[in-house]
Structure formats: structure tokens, C-alpha cells
Symmetry: C2
Subunit: 325 residues, 2 copies
């Protein structure tokens, strides 16, 4: 039900993913009329792999997360997260109210031992090299402490180590590379990280360096991280819109744009924000994926794929084991 477009985006994404993964099954939580109206049951084999959990209650973005637990326990969002808690589902994917989702995750799934707060972890493309970069926290918690940043660093480090099978390079997002830059929280975290043996700490990174392949993991406060990913996506979308404006101005431009269409497609396949949609809520005893609320079906599919990867990796178990050792 979540996100700016609700089932009109999430259900087509589910249908597309069903066609790509044979063994995947979905439980759709939400309003009966809304879900059934949009679902297109053209392939009966697919419908066998869909169950429903109907509820009338829906928790929109205007709901203050602080009120969500007390007043909205029967919302589709809470019920979906609760299916991960009780083992009926292996992962939950939602484009809904971020704060409420984090709250539901902390309350129902609980954080892993040694982790006070979960973080939202995004995957960013490296534009100048192969590979990608994990950025966390991108919005689970604003006003992170130095201890929070260290927890994020450790979680990101465990995930990157698993993905890359080598010691990951870790940076702290800051407004400059010099030691005197940044908040006291960042400076304190930097001091601790610079003496860490598990991690290849490379120092402060400025936002532009996020896309340059310098680091495998970058850690920041949830406010700064959220600003970073939303600015990045916004600039990409704005450039696309501007290019379409220029390309559509007259016949000559249209013809020229057509000739470079395949090159543009390649560019888009590297930078399209939809392909990097789906932030992992790490640090919980269960898999929870937050999709951007404003995404399209392609973006929601990417979020579902992120969930599948984390089920395959057994991500909460990996992080739990890392913190236990």
C-alpha cells in the first residue's frame, strides 16, 4: 500500500519479479479492494504464488511514527513487518512511511545483540569504475552519536567484506578532507576508526567522491545520508528532464538524440536511481527493505531483488555473527 503510488506501482513490480524468480512467493498486505483491483491475474501460475493479508488500516506518510506503534498496529505496514517476526515471511519490502517502518522494525524484529539502532544502508553506483559503494545511514535516525557511526561502520564493513571477500575500505562522509572539518561526532568516530584493525579506514570523503570508487563503505548521520541520496537522485532526474527538453525542441534535435539513444541507454543503466532503489534496514533480527516512496515499478523491483539477495546471504545472521565475535 505504501509509497506515493501504492499498489499501482508495487503490484506490477511483484508481477514482474514473479516472472523472473521461480521459487519466490509473495504475501501482499493491504486493503482488499485496492489490491484486487490492480492485480492482473493473467498467469494462473503466478497467482498461486501470491497470498494476501487483508487489512483496512493503512498508515500514510503523514502519520507521526511516534504514534504509529500505539495507534496503528493493524496497519498493513505493521502486519507486514510482523510476518518477518513470526517467520511467515523471510523479508519485508515496503515503500511506506520510513519512520514508522523503522519503528516497527525495532519494536517487532528487535535489534541484534550489540546494536542499539538499526541503519538504512543504500548502494550507490561507482560512476568512474566498476563496483558500488555502501552508504549508511541514509535516514533511519537523525542526530547519530559517534557510537552510532561506529556501529554503522561495523555493519557496513561486515556486509562489504561478505560481498567483496576482502577487507573493505571505509570512509566517513564529511564536508572536507582536512582533520579539522566536520562535527565533533564525526571527529570522535574518526579517531576510533583510525585505530581499527578490522577495517581499512581511508579518512573523510566529500560527497563527490562517493561515486568515484574510492571507498567500499561510507558512514554518515541519517540526515546527511538522506540529503545525499535524495540530492543525487534529484540531480540525475533533473538532467534527464533537461535533456529531454533540449532533445524534443525541434526535428533536428530529435533526430540527433535518436542517433545517440543507445549511448544514453548505457548511461542510464549506470546511473538510473531506480536501479539503486531499496535501502536495507540493517542491524535488525530480520530482513527489512525500504523502497523510496516516489519510485516506479522498476525501482520497486530493485528493492525486491535487494530482499532476495539478503535472504540468500542470510544478512541478519552475518551481521549478528560479526557483532558476536
Amino acid at each position: 500500500m505504501g509509497g506515493d503510488f501504492g499498489p499501482s506501482v508495487t503490484i506490477p513490480a511483484v508481477m514482474a519479479i514473479l516472472a523472473q524468480y521461480d521459487e519466490l512467493r509473495f504475501i501482499l498486505a493491504g486493503n482488499e479492494a485496492s489490491l484486487l483491483r490492480i492485480q492482473q491475474l493473467d498467469d494462473p501460475r503466478q497467482s498461486e504464488r501470491i497470498e494476501y493479508l487483508f487489512t483496512e488500516e493503512y498508515l500514510d506518510n503523514q502519520v507521526n511514527p511516534l504514534h504509529a506503534i500505539r495507534r496503528h498496529r493493524n496497519s498493513s505496514l505493521f502486519l507486514a513487518v510482523d510476518m518477518v517476526r513470526n517467520g511467515r515471511a523471510d523479508a519485508c519490502v515496503s515503500a511506506g512511511n520510513t519512520g514508522a517502518l523503522i519503528m516497527a522494525g525495532r519494536h517487532l524484529l528487535r535489534t541484534l545483540p550489540g546494536i542499539e539502532r538499526p541503519a538504512m544502508m543504500a548502494t550507490l553506483p561507482n560512476l568512474q569504475a566498476q563496483g558500488s559503494c555502501l552508504l549508511l545511514d541514509v535516514g533511519a535516525h537523525i542526530n547519530s552519536s559517534a557510537q552510532d557511526l561506529l556501529t554503522y561502520a561495523r555493519m557496513g564493513g561486515i556486509v562489504a567484506q561478505y560481498q567483496l571477500q576482502r577487507k573493505p575500505r571505509l570512509g566517513l562522509l564529511n564536508i572536507g578532507a582536512e582533520v579539522h572539518k566536520g562535527t565533533e561526532v564525526i571527529k570522535t568516530a574518526a579517531q576510533v576508526l583510525s585505530t581499527s584493525a578490522d577495517i581499512d579506514y581511508i579518512g573523510y570523503l566529500e560527497p563527490a567522491e562517493l561515486f568515484a570508487g574510492k571507498a567500499d563503505v561510507v558512514v554518515c548521520d541519517g540526515f546527511a545520508g538522506n540529503i545525499t541520496i535524495k540530492t543525487s537522485a534529484g540531480v540525475v532526474r533533473a538532467i534527464e528532464a533537461l535533456w529531454l527538453q533540449i532533445a524534443g525542441r525541434n526535428l533536428i534535435n530529435r533526430g540527433r538524440a535518436l542517433l545517440t539513444a543507445s549511448m544514453f541507454k548505457e548511461l542510464q543503466q549506470t546511473i538510473n536511481p531506480s536501479l539503486f532503489n531499496g535501502a536495507s534496514v540493517v542491524g535488525l533480527d530480520g530482513i527489512l527493505i525500504k523502497s523510496h516512496g516516489n519510485t516506479d515499478s522498476e525501482g520497486f523491483q530493485a528493492a525486491i531483488r535487494q530482499a532476495v539477495q539478503e535472504i540468500d546471504a542470510g544478512l541478519p545472521g552475518l551481521i549478528g555473527a560479526g557483532f558476536a565475535s
Copy 2:
């Protein structure tokens, strides 16, 4: 002397600007050998409009701004700002150490009555419409209070009112549009702004909306603002680099790219970060422009043009009068 490239960028920019403005004169502060080595005195009329203030001391980015006042009073940066204080210069443009420049500005030029802290104000392009958007603070101060944000709002409002000759639309940068989003500082500022008569307050803006022409002024903490402008510029540069990679891969791509070169040029003229270089340090009794340290000659020229515009507008006087009334 400032910035990543020093006189090799700043002096060619000065030469280019001299050729464009007949009445402008420059005083270059810095190391004698460095300045004279790079200056190309091909046009004697231009050299008549250049004076020098030589000093051996240079304050690099590694210097902690807190030590700058005590230990580096004879640095080119301090001497340049001091020329604005004593009336020898109408404005100071620097690509040097941001923290030290703000410190020198506060210490030598002083803030205007009613203003506790200056802010760095950037101009962002509207990509989907004509016009631009003022964003402040982009890095003069991290950890802004609600009162700071209100001061920034008032300063930005005065400048936008002067530029647009109408009541400006003002937004607060936040991680979501909903009232429960953001820090306590942002929520407090929003409450006050929503009752303000001088300003058309339009609420919270997410970063992607900065480029959409929704607001004339957007206010934020210096950390978030700095992250925003550096992420924006970084994404634009990364996309350019990626396009050049794709376009240069083979002869066919090169030919196709050539056909769309004029369209690309148009795109770049709207979004090229260099064209928007030059943040105005507003709130001081004097004109101070901070250029990005990593900019090229074109970018430094934009910063100088920003200074010329502020001299013409008498910006400190405008802001002072606004706060006095």
C-alpha cells in the same frame, strides 16, 4: 593563493575578467614569486589595473581555522579580507580555507547589527524552469540553531526580494515534506516561519526540489547545505565523465557524440557547476565571496562576477537596512 590550484587558476580568471569589465581593478594578495611567475603581462592596459599586496605567509586548507587568527594574521587570506575592512577594496574573493575565511570575515569585517553569524549563500540553477534558487547556509557554520536558520531566512529573503522585486517564496531543506520530519531545530524554525508576514513560507523542501523552481530561497544548516552543493556538483561531474567514457569508446560513438555536441553544450551551460561557483558570505559588513577550492578558471571568474554584482547592489547595506527595519 587559495584553492587546490592557487594562482594558476586565479590569475587567468583575473585576466579574463579584466578583459570583460573596463572599470574593475584588482589587488592580488600573495607570494611575490608565485604571482609574478604566472601572470602573463601581454596587455599593458590590463597590468595598470592590477596592484599587488605581497606577503610570504600562506594559509593552506590544513590550517585549523581556530588557529588562523592568532598565528596567521599576515597570511594573504587575512590581508585580503582586511583590505575590505579598511576600504582599500570593495570586495574580497578567495578560494582559500573556508573556515579561516569565515573567521577572518567575522573578526575583521564584523557581522551586521542583529546578525550573530554570517552564512554562505549559493545560487543554484532551476533545471526545469527559468531562474535560480538561493541556498544558505552552505558551510559557514555547522550545527545551526533555529535562530540561525531564521537569520538565514531573513538574509536570503532580503537578497531574493531585491533580485526578484517581489515577495520571495522560502522553503526549509528537509528529508521529507511531512511535519514530523527533521530535527527539532528545523521544526522550531518552521513554526516561526509559518507565522511570518514578510516571507511566503512554502514549508519543507526535499533536495530534489531545489532544482525545480519551487522556491526562491532555501534555508538549511551549513553541514546539510555543504553536502547538498557538493553532491550536486559531484553528480554532474560524474555524469559528464561517464558520458565522455561512453562517447570516446569507438569511432561510431565519437561520431554520434559529435552530432549532439551543440545540444550537450546547451545542457552544460545550464548545469555546469563552475557557472554557479562563488558563495556569498552574507551577514558581514563587507563583501566576501568564497570560491570552491577545486574550481577552474571559469569557476573563479563566476565568483568574481558574483562580487561585482554584490558591489553594484550594495549587498551589505541592503541586508543591514533590512535588519534595522
